[in-house]
Symmetry: C2
Subunit: 504 residues, 2 copies
């Protein structure tokens, strides 16, 4: 027992050091996207890949493997809910993934991904899918190989999905997403047929950059983001970096002719940031101090961006403030017009610009296509046709070119297959959690309308953030809401919006 | 021979990786002083110390030791000026330093230094030397122990000096500095007696922060700092970070009621930055890609700050520009008044605020006192008295309290003993190099007056920057100027200023 205990301490010490090095890599990444001078790019790439090598070698070492195996046979794990048992269970998971894929394959995927990303950027610029197709085909081959190395129960897609959403299965997603798809297509059809149009031009007036930053920062602070333990900076493609306890950094971009980009972007990233700031610092570097999955992370960003940030009750408190911040743009605009503008729903071509409702159909389309591609039910050559067909079927519109169609996203060129569904999972989790929070907190709407976000944040901290990876996403949903993951809460939420604003 | 060659490649690969990790630590350090949110401090300290441990272990490993020893016996080093010979010579130097001091002692010095810094900060705040004295005594004991581990020819101070100024000796500095001291004391006395006072108030008018930044950035660009491979940011204690090829970062601070702080600060840091940007990227991570010494580094900053930036010819080009940038502050100010204001010489208490001439006496005083302390010719308890006596002797003034006397600098509390002389070495090197550059470039004054800094920069690149650690500082001085290090060029330069502005 004392010997086992020593092994556990040694294991934790080792993974903490690895966590520390990952957080160093995080600083390099944040710096690269916000500070790095152009000529420093090559050196930064070398720093990053050296650090990745050191991290991989340290974690996939025989030493770590032995410690995990030793722990698995030890008394310390008798209670499967003990900290030690949870950490060992999750480390086993990570370790197996790390050692099952040979480093030659990892390197080949990285190498091809670099080439594919540059080919993709060029192909998108020229809207010439043919130039990207061979790279996509090669990526798919390599990812199939990776899936075989990792192993799976039912289909290769499981192996890839599991990297981003541990424990989730393709079969389950197919069922849940199918139940979402048809009702969402119908709802969006009814909204379109209603003939009502949001006063979108309100958001497209002149919003000075400094005032936008000040307003977004104030909102992030009000919902609970701790700027003594974080920052807000500018970048091209916004993200949130968790650089370790006390250091969570949001980024955004400003468009002076569109209010929505920066504001809802900051609400979104601050949602991620609140999750990171809610992880327990004493667990840093161990699974208990880490986020569960991309989907759960996304649920936190979507909660604050959409469920809170676009709600009428939110603007009860914030509308007078936004009017003060932008008196010229908002002269004569009513609260009702403003909130309607923030809740526009209409089909569009580009995922990242899509609204809260249609967004999910963009994801479902990608989820279905990447499954078909990986499982060779669809050839890379036939992607554009399949894409456009599904766009027509789900959103009723067909892009004029592939730049606005199957070439719009970077993910596949990076080898990120199995990543897209986590976006819609985020929306589903968010809606299901939020329904429960409303039930638990009673007067949540009134709290939000009063600008009091502490009860909701405390609820998220207690039920989600503080657990780290103690539960899988599916377990957490069940534990919190008493039900399996379902599309109903999201459909109910969107249905309510449709009634409220479009009368359908 | 092929085997030896393989060992050399292995050695270079290893030290390059170490250099890469050091540059990662550099990013953490820069970030800490410009970006880090307050609550991230503790985590950053852990990241930094883990990285320091990894770097130390990698470099002081038996493997590196064997490779160096193997190379020393190899044919590859027959030509002592070959790249391989230079790298191995310098790596031996670094390796011996790294392994001779036991890590228990290194850790104890770090530990005590943390306590001593905080005791020093508090003692300075209260101007209560007694509170700091036991920490200083302990630091001195530990540094004596370190000197014994490192080894030395003549005196323990040699061992410490050698860390910052490789190859330099206490005996040589005592001779060179003595020849500077007496003449400088006399010169400053004559300046004081002249009764002429610079129109200092010109620099103390209102200089808006943004205009200061724009102007300083423009000047840094004009002298050749490449902002595609660097940045300029704000911090509390300005520094320059070399984060690797293509990434050199300057920092400064702005006082809206004093022009000199930011402007000459940026010229100073840009001088450091130009050295870093002039190191050959292909040598990164090896001694041939590193700066020679703190003194040589300082010579580059002093060249641009003082020899160029405070010269009359520099302002021939820049005075119209500065007048445009600050029309209100400079209304009615003549070029002559402006340059005189930038060349104030008068005794003061605080080193970091001292002018180009008196600064060196602040250094000489510290150099003499730290030698005496280390060699136990002076007891820590007697420091304040000795300090004040020398202030009186060299600068004719005595501080009213120790906060403005022996407690003003952080260096000793950090264990940095042997560091101070590199500041004045920088001034000496700078003046001696500059005299040679004037001889070599012929019309340097005219080039500077025309805002053409390319010939001077090219001269510095060719003669100094591009060599890395191929030559020691002393060798480089001899190679470039044909003479040993001497105080004459600096005294000549200061003498000329004294004649020009004070008529003495």
């Amino acid at each position: 027992m004392p010997h086992t205990h020593t092994s556990y301490l040694e294991l934790i010490k080792t993974v903490r050091e690895i966590g520390m090095l990952k957080s160093v890599a995080g600083v390099l990444n944040w710096d690269e996207h916000t500070q790095l001078p152009p000529k420093g790019t090559e050196h930064r790439a070398t720093q990053v890949s050296l650090l990745a090598k050191i991290i991989h070698e340290k974690f996939s070492s025989a030493h770590v493997g032995h410690l995990i195996t030793e722990m698995e046979a030890s008394d310390l794990l008798h209670d499967p809910q003990s900290d030690a048992a949870v950490n060992v269970r999750e480390l086993r998971r990570d370790y197996d993934r790390a050692v099952r894929v040979p480093s030659s394959l990892v390197q080949e995927i990285s190498r091809v991904a670099v080439l594919a990303q540059s080919a993709w950027a060029e192909a998108r610029r020229k809207s010439s899918y043919g130039d990207f197709q061979p790279f996509l085909a090669r990526i798919l081959d390599l990812k199939r190989e990776e899936a075989e190395c990792v192993g799976y129960r039912t289909c290769p897609y499981d192996a890839l999905l599991d990297e981003y959403e541990p424990g989730e299965t393709t079969a389950n997603l197919n069922v849940v997403f199918a139940s979402l798809r048809d009702k969402l297509v119908a709802l969006i059809g009814r909204i379109g047929a209603s003939g009502r149009k949001t006063p979108l031009d309100i958001l497209e007036r002149y919003y000075p950059r400094e005032a936008q930053e000040k307003f977004a920062r104030m909102a992030a602070m009000k919902i609970g983001f701790d700027f003594q333990a974080g920052r807000l900076d500018t970048t091209v493609h916004p993200f949130c970096s968790d650089l370790g306890p006390g250091d969570t950094r949001l980024t955004t971009r400003y468009d002076e002719n569109y209010f929505g980009d920066a504001f809802f972007g900051v609400m979104h990233e601050a949602g991620h940031g609140l999750y990171d700031q809610g992880l327990k610092p004493e667990y840093f570097g161990t699974p208990l101090g880490e986020a569960i999955s991309l989907g759960i992370h996304e649920s936190q960003s979507r909660t604050w961006e959409n469920l809170v940030g676009r709600s009428g009750v939110f603007w009860k408190h914030f509308f007078p403030l936004v009017k003060d911040a932008f008196p010229a743009a908002l002269a004569g605009v009513s609260e009702e017009q403003w909130v309607f503008a923030a809740n526009d729903i209409r089909p569009s071509f580009i995922r990242v610009e899509a609204d809260e409702a249609t967004y999910n159909l963009h994801i479902l389309l990608r989820f279905e296509l990447e499954q078909a591609l990986l499982h060779e039910d669809l050839q890379a050559a036939d992607l554009p046709g399949a894409w456009n067909e599904k766009m027509k079927q789900y959103l009723g519109i067909v892009p004029l070119d592939d730049a606005h169609g199957c070439l719009q996203d970077i993910h596949w060129s990076m080898g990120a297959i199995g990543y897209f569904p986590t976006y819609t999972l985020g929306n589903l989790y968010a809606a299901q959690f939020f329904e429960q929070a409303q039930a638990d907190l009673g007067d949540l709407d009134r709290q939000i309308a009063a600008g009091n976000f502490a009860p909701l944040l405390a609820w998220l901290r207690k039920n989600i953030h503080s657990h780290g990876r103690r539960y899988s996403a599916g377990q957490l949903v069940k534990k919190i809401t008493g039900k399996e993951l379902s599309s109903e809460p999201l459909l109910k939420h969107l249905g309510k919006k449709a009634r409220e604003w479009y009368g359908v």
